[in-house]
């Protein structure tokens, strides 16, 4: 061990040690000579004898060297120094190779960091594999995936598979929470959670969780709240003494009993793209009037599986159906929480990862090509070294060292690229992709980078090393003027070009299809006109929120509407409590004269609006009228959409028909509106929608919608001042264009389309660089031959064509292969496409043309230079 250290230390001092040895050898030589002289020989003879006796000096030196240091390390360092000298002599080559590697590895690391929390990691909770999501299968009569309080209680009581069953209020975007006091009022998104919610997830926080004592009666107000880490930092500067303090909200004062830890973001798991900052306790008995509004999360017993739990639940459901006929055909599906949260994105992220891996392949192919060309150009050098005694292994080691050095440099340059890309993705906080803040370039990503670099470095050295090992002794035999490179070489390079071009085609087709899907999605017929419409979140005074205050509340909303309408430039203005693509909840809607199977009354998405909403949103009326002043509590009115009308009264005139719903009273249909895209852009409007006036039904979370040709910046001050005169705290959030709703709904699609397009363009660039270098190399090899051709009268055109032909043929083959492969693989991503066939003709025509054009240009540039070769110069060069 001690010796090892000594030997390591000796590595750096080899020159000093050599000198020392030489001195010692000389002194011994002198002593030996002296001895012989004393024995009577002449000076010359004694010296000769001494030298003989001393033996092979060089051998002594070698042995000494081998003993004193680590020869392996020394020769490795030699290789490195040699490689660095080589790079300095050819900086363009070295920088080009490093750039190619940096881009390839950088985007791969970035995508690895992006897909990791969704594809690779378990959810960021304690024992996450025990967590499940329980929801009813979707069917008529039920809102999306939620239960009523009573149903949940039964589930909890009569199952044994779960150690904890918990829930949160699913329609939390309708909950009007505002933080008031010390500073501007801030509208918060918050939800109500069961007291054991955080415990079920295993989230540990500062302060305490809700106790059953905290549970309020109504749910929408409370004396105890829990706030998110983000809010704590943002609004309270991370004040360590916040727990226990009382804050004022629009629903009254409340004490902060707990602050969630930094690692937990409710929104990023349960509602991606929305920041949920406030948590209130659910009432002990959930009001029946809420309907089914609870989303359920549970923790399995240790050792339990979702399947076993599903079996138990399946056995329970028929019993429940019998005991509670008004619950309808209640069902329950137990899925593990990870699948529920991430399942939707797995396919597209998997595709993203595969496409970026293809980019790396192309980069490696390029690198291989470059190194291959370099290796061939250094034939002379290898010949000399081989003649001097370097083994084939040593030469290959030299090449490997160079490859690894380039890979290391490339990987180092890749890290900032990865950081930048991941940072750009994370900064888009409204992106509807879960676990956004868990995407980071951390140690595992760096490890991935290192492995990628290793694989890239070694992989791209494979071909050049092969070439070296194929040479027998004939290193020197190859003349620069040789017209034909070894056929194996040529075909290897063709294979590289073909594969690069083919991969690029596949990627470009994928990108084209995704881009097309995105465009189709945002151009879909929404049913309303987002252009020139804006919305502003309003904050109703607490005193007006209760049911008793309906008249006063409606009067205030009426006033808001009429005064905003008076602002110059406003074409239309109205109040609503729900906006398409943003928040929605469902209420049952049926004709009292019709009979529906128990619990199977049709369910419609509800908008509580004021008069003029349809006009403000640009939703055409098919028949009848919008709400007006006539629609009071004595003349209850409802507007339904075409689909609902069709469902309830097929083939009949819906106007004047009665509707009953969750709120007491019978409502008369006064208007039919067109269908509007409700939950997602892509879903066909097969949903039922109804509009009820705020004079007749409670309204809490309110948005003002205006339509105007003026931009938001011109409108905001006028509207703001109008609202402030009515109530200083009325405006809860700045005016925003309705287009934002569409953008947000399309954001995951845009995200994927952008990234894949970026990667495929990168691939195209790399492929063109590859083609360029292959053609250049070919020219260099055939310098002499081209000179001969020109001397014999070839025109520049002919030379050009001759030089490009081989590569262009390979490109053509690559395009064909690539398009065929693309046609096959496009089918795999059909589920990610929208209104786009996997054989979309525009894409399948544009891509080969684009690739062919780019390849032609990339091949033409060096060919042009070749055509200018002076034959005299070429012929003279040997």
């Amino acid at each position: 061990m001690y010796r090892l250290v000594q030997r390591l230390l000796a590595v750096g001092r080899h020159r000093a040690l050599d000198d020392d040895l030489n001195e010692e050898l000389e002194s011994h030589l002198a002593m030996a000579a002296e001895e012989y002289r004393c024995a009577g020989l002449s000076t010359a003879e004694s010296e000769r004898r001494a030298r003989l006796a001393l033996g092979g000096v060089q051998r002594a030196r070698d042995e000494h060297r081998r003993a004193r240091a680590l020869p392996l390390l020394e020769s490795a360092l030699q290789d490195v120094a040699y490689a660095m000298r080589g790079f300095r002599r050819r900086p363009v080559f070295a920088l080009g190779a490093i750039a190619v590697l940096a881009l390839g590895i950088g985007v791969n690391t970035a995508v690895f960091s992006i897909v990791r929390p969704i594809l690779l990691l378990p959810l960021p909770f304690a024992n996450p594999h025990q967590l499940v999501w329980i929801s009813p299968s979707s069917e008529e009569g039920r809102s999306i995936g939620t239960y009523t309080g009573a149903e949940l209680d039964e589930l909890k009581l009569r199952t044994r598979s779960f150690s904890q069953v918990s829930a949160y209020y699913a329609f939390f975007r309708f909950a009007p929470f505002t933080l008031t006091g010390n500073g501007d009022a801030e509208a918060l998104t918050g939800t109500m959670v069961a007291p054991n919610f955080f415990e079920t997830l295993g989230v540990r926080m500062a302060g305490r969780v809700f106790s059953s004592a905290d549970a309020s009666a109504s749910g929408f107000s409370s004396t105890a709240v829990v706030i998110s880490h983000g809010l704590w930092q943002r609004r309270f500067g991370g004040d360590p003494a916040l727990v226990g303090k009382t804050l004022s909200f629009n629903f009254g004062p409340a004490t902060v009993v707990g602050i969630l830890p930094a690692g937990f973001d409710f929104g990023s798991v349960f509602s991606p793209g929305i920041a949920v900052d406030l948590f209130l306790p659910l009432p002990a008995v959930v009001p029946a009037v809420w309907g089914n509004a609870l989303s359920t999360v549970a923790r399995l017993n240790s050792g339990g599986t979702p399947r076993a739990a599903q079996a138990e639940v399946d056995a329970l459901m028929p019993q429940l159906r019998r005991e509670h006929p008004d619950w309808g055909a209640i069902t329950a599906q137990v899925t593990d929480l990870n699948s529920h949260v991430n399942g939707r994105f797995r396919r597209s992220l998997g595709f993203l990862w595969v496409s970026v891996a293809m980019v790396l392949l192309i980069a490696c192919a390029n690198l291989s090509n470059l190194l291959f060309a370099r290796a061939t150009a250094r034939t002379r050098e290898f010949a000399v070294r081989s003649a001097l005694g370097a083994s084939r292994g040593r030469l290959i080691r030299q090449l490997l060292t160079e490859g690894m050095l380039l890979a290391i440099a490339g990987a180092t340059a890749a890290v900032p690229i990865a950081y930048a890309l991941v940072g750009a993705v994370r900064s888009n906080t409204t992106l509807g992709i879960p676990l956004l803040e868990w995407m980071e370039v951390d140690s595992s990503a760096l490890l991935f980078t290192a492995s990628a670099a290793l694989v890239a470095g070694l992989g791209s050295m494979a071909l050049p090393s092969l070439r070296i090992s194929r040479q027998r002794d004939g290193f020197v035999r190859e003349q620069p003027g040789a017209t034909t490179a070894a056929p194996l070489e040529g075909s290897m390079r063709s294979i590289l070009v073909i594969s690069e071009v083919a991969l690029t085609c596949v990627l470009l087709v994928g990108a084209g299809l995704l881009a097309r899907s995105f465009l189709n999605a945002i151009n879909v017929n929404l049913g309303f006109q987002p252009a020139r419409a804006h919305r502003a979140r309003l904050n109703l005074p607490l005193a007006l929120l209760s049911i008793e205050q309906t008249v006063r509340r409606s009067a205030m909303l009426d006033e808001v509407t009429s005064r905003v309408r008076a602002v110059p430039g406003i074409e239309a203005a109205a109040i609503t409590d729900a906006l398409p693509l943003e928040r929605f909840r469902g209420w049952p809607a049926g004709d009292p004269g019709q009979i529906y199977p128990p619990g199977r009354r049709p369910s419609a998405f509800l908008y509580v609006t004021g008069p003029g909403y349809l006009r403000a949103m640009g939703i055409p009326l098919r028949a009848g009228r919008d709400f007006s002043a006539e629609d009071t509590l004595d003349h209850r009115a409802v507007i339904v959409n075409e689909r609902l009308a069709q469902r309830l009264w097929p083939g009949q005139d819906p106007l004047g028909r009665p509707v009953v719903t969750s709120w007491p009273g019978t409502y008369t249909v006064v208007g039919i509106a067109t269908d509007v895209r409700q939950a997602r852009l892509e879903e066909p409007s097969s949903v039922f929608q109804m509009y009820l006036p705020y004079t007749q039904v409670p309204i809490a979370a309110v948005d003002l919608v205006v339509r105007s040709p003026l931009p938001a910046s011109a409108l905001a001050p006028a509207i703001g001042s109008v609202l402030r005169t009515i109530d200083p705290d009325l405006l809860a959030a700045p005016l925003q264009p309705i287009d934002d709703l569409i953008d947000r709904a399309a954001s995951p699609r845009l995200f994927l389309a952008r990234l894949v397009t970026g990667f495929s363009l990168l691939a195209l660039l790399l492929a063109c660089v590859g083609i360029y270098s292959v053609v250049s190399y070919g020219i260099k090899q055939r310098f002499y031959e081209i000179g001969v051709r020109v001397a014999l009268g070839a025109t520049r055109r002919q030379v050009c064509r001759h030089v490009m032909s081989g590569t262009l043929r390979a490109t053509g083959a690559g395009i064909v292969a690539g398009m065929l492969a693309a046609a096959v693989t496009a089918r795999l991503i059909t589920s990610m496409l929208y209104n786009t066939s996997p054989a979309e003709p525009t894409v399948f025509v544009a891509v080969p043309l684009a690739v062919a054009g780019a390849a032609l240009l990339a091949a033409y540039l060096p060919a042009r230079r070749a055509s200018r070769i002076d034959p005299v110069v070429a012929l003279r060069t040997e």
Binding site: Y2, R3, Q6, R7, D20, L21, E23, E24, L25, S27, H28, A30, M31, A32, E34, E35, A53, L54, G55, G56, V57, R59, A60, E63, H64, R66, A67, R68
Partner: protein, 100 residues
């Protein structure tokens, strides 16, 4: 063997060590001159000998090697072990005939 030489003669330069070993073993062990340097380096790295440049008896510069304490200990240890082995071998080899 190098260590023994140094014990016997005291500090000596490399050439002297090699010659002495040749002499003492009666030329039975002919160290190729080359290997002595490697051997000396190995011993140095193990910490059993020490090296220093000095002046020889005929006013020449020479590198002198000296035994260290650890080297002395190692030599004693190895010598004992060698003798033990020799004794055992002797006993084993002399009982080939008529042993039980």
């Amino acid at each position: 063997m190098v260590l023994q030489t140094l014990v016997a003669i005291g500090p000596l330069h490399g050439y002297g060590i090699a010659r002495r070993i040749e002499q003492v073993s009666g030329d039975a062990v002919l160290l190729y001159q080359g290997t002595i340097y490697a051997a000396l380096v190995r011993l140095q790295q193990r910490g059993w000998i020490r090296a220093e440049w000095g002046v020889s008896d005929n006013n020449r510069r020479a590198k002198y090697y000296e035994l260290t304490r650890r080297g002395r200990q190692h030599l004693e240890h190895e010598t004992k072990a060698w003798h033990r082995l020799a004794a055992v071998m002797g006993r084993v080899l002399t009982q080939t005939e008529g042993g039980s």
